[in-house]
Symmetry: C2
Subunit: 213 residues, 2 copies
DNA sequence: CTTAAATTTTGCAATGACCCCAAAGTTTAA
DNA sequence: TTAAACTTTGGGGTCATTGCAAAATTTAAG
């Protein structure tokens, strides 16, 4: 389990590059900061940056690792007698109610959002993330519901659940971008979550109940 | 209303560039074909290509103009006593049943899909289109339902309806990409549409009924 | 401690999208 | 016929991204 010098240095270098890059992006925007500037500020060569990050956008979204599996984890961890949708809604409510920075409810998130808002490549990358979340969730639901291969239902339910997830994130992002207060936004989004739940059909709300069948 | 020589030439040049570009992309893929090659094949300078198309992706999606307003048009044209959702489902069924090339049910669409599938920038552009469709629809629904400014419902319903739309398009695209037969896919997607409708709540299905209130 | 192998960093060169500007060519309208 | 309006083009530049081989660093073997 001991970590060699080489491993530690790699991890440190990667972290340093990511941190410095994010700082520069928050300061000057995504498009205006060049990879060369990031490299210089991190005191490495441009090629080293590319050694760790396949594309410029990855420098910005580095910390968002684990987001892709989040929804799937929530579904897998649902309680006895609880459906996938109920679990997702419960976890979303918990995050919002806790004013969790994980969903953007924190001071300074507006600066983060502004960078994304002004950079088409970053918005693209976010959509790509959404897609990954959806696909991951679809696979999870197929498993958890024991659905046969041709069954379109897991895909459809995944669509509905990632829509819930996405709506919450987009709303939080939009409101924080306006410079709103996290606590205020939290309250509003809790109401929004009720609206969302009311729009889901029973079929969605009762899919993949743990223990059923 | 007479069209001058200048206008005609511009339109022709634009069309020629777009056609030749699409041909080259279908033949060799999006990434491998350079703008310079397109320009040369269309017998214009690289700068002229950029005069007409802001980005390389626009060369490929040129013909898809009008898709953004499609959903909104369907909603606006809904029948007396019909809700927004019912109108959208009805129109989608009509398109699918008619094996319409407008939604990709045509021979050769697999080549089109393959190009998109293999080119991340094209997929990004598609998501961007989806986003535009959603936002456009949200504005339309807000108007048609006479919803007040703070009301989140138009946005939520827009999310559900563009999800229906998107699901149909994605499914058609995926199946056609496999080399399936348009008529077969049409039949399957009609069934899928039934599944989709069953997943929509009454609230969604009854939003913005023409004539109500 | 020394050295060869494995791994990481770097420099260099290229490709291609995209932008800016000014010159040259074309079309319109007076 | 000609000046104004508009389009095309050439040239030059920035920057993301890639490939390659040399140089530096770390590890492990002796």
């Amino acid at each position: 389990m001991a970590e060699g010098l080489r491993e530690r240095k790699k991890r440190e270098t990667r972290q340093r590059i990511s941190d410095i890059a994010t700082g520069l992006f928050l300061e000057h925007g995504f498009v205006t900061v060049t990879i060369a500037e990031v490299a210089e500020a991190a005191d490495v060569s441009v090629n080293t940056v590319y050694n760790y990050f396949p594309a410029k956008e990855d420098l910005f979204f580095d910390r968002s690792a684990g987001v892709v599996e989040q929804l799937s984890r929530w579904v897998r961890a649902r309680d006895e007698g609880e459906s996938a949708a109920r679990a997702v809604l419960r976890e979303l409510r918990a995050e919002v109610e806790a004013v969790s920075p994980r969903i953007g409810l924190m001071a300074g998130y507006d600066r983060f959002m502004r960078v994304i808002h002004e950079a088409p490549p970053l918005r693209s990358r976010l959509w790509s993330l959404q897609q990954e979340i959806h696909d991951h969730l679809e696979a999870t639901l197929r498993e958890e519901a024991g659905a046969p291969d041709g069954d379109p239902l897991p895909g459809l339910i995944a669509g509905q659940l990632s829509w819930c997830h996405q709506t919450v994130f987009v709303t939080v992002g939009r409101e924080m971008l306006k410079g709103r207060n996290p606590d205020e936004v939290s309250r509003e989004v809790l109401v929004l979550l009720d609206d969302i739940e009311e729009l889901l059909s029973e079929k969605v709300l009762n899919y993949a109940v743990r223990g059923a069948q």
